[in-house]
Symmetry: C2
Subunit: 107 residues, 2 copies
DNA sequence: TTGATTCATAACCCTACAGTTATGGGTAAG
DNA sequence: CTTACCCATAACTGTAGGGTTATGAATCAA
């Protein structure tokens, strides 16, 4: 059902890249120039990060004249949410099993 | 409230390390030797990954004789869950704002 | 047309880190 | 006591990838 979160984890692991994605989530659509401002890195670096984010399906790009607008892609984090709840579910199941065991030992 | 998910993302970005963590979640407590089996890498590599997972608070270790048992640490993924829902919340807010705008334009 | 602006790509450097083998400390077994 | 086993650490290597500068393609302005 849910696709592998591998690419998602690798893409979001870099702090600079994750910060760019967070800004797009918080403030909405941005041009590359706007994103470069206060990103702490050069414009080519930002472009590469945006390329990686796009490859992971985390952002969309929209060309308008000579500038490119990027925006966060809703739903792209779903595999991440699925994975975390699955992991959380596993130890929950074992806690339940332990609970059952204790109950059976009790009686 | 929620701590930075930076270390969590970096730690879970590696596929081998994430696979070890998944196994601990699915199958419960495991010794290093058991985890080395079918991990595809050497025992020292597994030990290093377990060290990294422990540093990120994702696993606990329990010493018993000459072997060390590792287990997934429940709740360690909470910052990750917080971060994702926060990001999801941001674009949800903007969708709501857009919705409001459209309603006001409509009347 | 010329010049300025915006972004993407190329080419390169350098560091972080995942992997390895070698080894030692601690514990159980003979 | 000696041997075998389990794990952690040290030391080293190779590579993936994030950073840079340089440059070109495309668009807008003068």
């Amino acid at each position: 059902m849910s696709s592998t979160p591998d690419l998602l984890f690798r893409t979001l692991a870099d702090p600079t890249r994750r910060a760019i994605f967070e800004r797009l989530c918080r403030e909405g659509e941005q041009t590359v120039g706007a994103l470069t401002t206060r990103s702490g890195v050069s414009q080519p670096a930002v472009s590469k990060h945006l390329g990686a984010l796009k490859l992971a399906g985390l952002v969309r790009d929209r060309h308008e004249g000579r500038q490119t607008h990027y925006s966060a892609q809703p739903g792209a984090l779903d595999p991440l949410i699925d994975w975390t709840s699955q992991m959380a579910g596993f130890w929950q199941n074992r806690l339940d099993a332990l609970d059952d065991l204790l109950k059976r030992m009790d009686q």
